[in-house]
């Protein structure tokens, strides 16, 4: 029992440290501290509202989709189908970019091609459908369209550069990481 608590405390040590800092700020400068807590609270609510379905789908994907299937559609020889699928997966998502990393982990674990995973990340970061609609209404259709067109090219270029920068050994390490994380 004590071991378990220690383990838990260790995993959350940075969070606890930050929490303490925030409390100290609250004491020294109540206005800033209070605002920080409010921001954290509202962001946390947003996170908690969007993450459950993502992780449920992630779990289902992990259990139901066979490795062979993933390799066929998003693996090394998946070609254009893999690219489009990755783009669609990312664009249909919701939630902040950091929620995309666990999804990327499962895709890698199941044998998806690395560049396709980067495309998914790129789409998740910047061409999410609800966000695009929101962008058009806030900043105008032209702003959104120009940025969207550029992003399509940008996602491809960034994925390409990132993948090319990695040696085979780097890639192996990434796939190993994906196998280890549950």
């Amino acid at each position: 029992m004590k071991d378990k608590i220690m383990k838990l405390a260790k995993r959350y040590q940075i969070f606890i440290l930050l929490l303490v800092i925030n409390i100290v700020v609250l004491v020294i400068s109540p206005n800033v501290g209070r605002k920080a807590f409010q921001m954290t609270g509202s962001n946390m609510l947003e996170m908690l509202s969007v993450l459950p379905p993502i992780f449920i789908l992630l779990g289902l994907l992990d259990v139901w989709v066979k490795r062979e299937t993933m390799i066929k559609y998003m693996g090394d020889n998946s070609g254009m189908v893999g690219v489009l699928l990755a783009f669609f997966l990312g664009s249909a998502a919701a939630g902040p970019l950091y929620a995309a990393f666990p999804v990327a982990g499962v895709l890698l674990k199941k044998g998806s091609k690395l560049s396709n995973v980067f495309i998914m990340l790129g789409a998740w970061s910047t061409t999410k459908i609800p966000l695009i609609l929101f962008e058009a209404s806030a900043l105008g259709l032209k702003f959104m369209l120009v940025r969207f067109m550029m992003d399509l090219i940008g996602i491809a270029i960034i994925s390409y550069i990132t993948e090319k920068s990695l040696t085979q050994k780097d890639k192996d390490v990434i796939y190993q990481k994906a196998q280890q994380t549950e």
Binding site: N22, M44, I56, L57, A94, Y98, P102, V173, I174
Partner: protein
Amino acid sequence: MTIALYVIAMIALAISFFKSREKTLHALKRAWKSFENILPQFLSILIIIGMMLALLTPEQISKLLGSESGWYGVLIAAAIGSITLIPGFVAFPLAAALLKSGAGYMQIAAFISTLMMVGIVTMPVESRYFGKKATLVRNAAAFGFSLIVALVMGVVL
């Protein structure tokens, strides 16, 4: 969209449950495990963002990004966008307000683009999955690309 995601997740869960209770339970366990696995880092990120937003107000950002600020303003915008992590539904109205109060399209484009693609605060999470090298290269490439977006936006709009 979040609602749509819930509907899809629920339908998928129902189909899965109908097909195999055991596998569904397993999937839910997996879901919880991968969530709990990343939770400490998520929570840390949330606090860092909260403190940042408390210190960096929209008025301050607006002051830094006037349309006369030129490339200097673009770089500041890109730096702010890279470091902060503002949810989209806050960022776009903020960007619209900044434009109205005199910020230039180039600066706003750099801000929005880096905000979405570059995540300095989330780098520890990213490198847990991709390693340091891939994380650094992706973020650097995204930063460079955002500057190009800003340039094009400045010409087109």
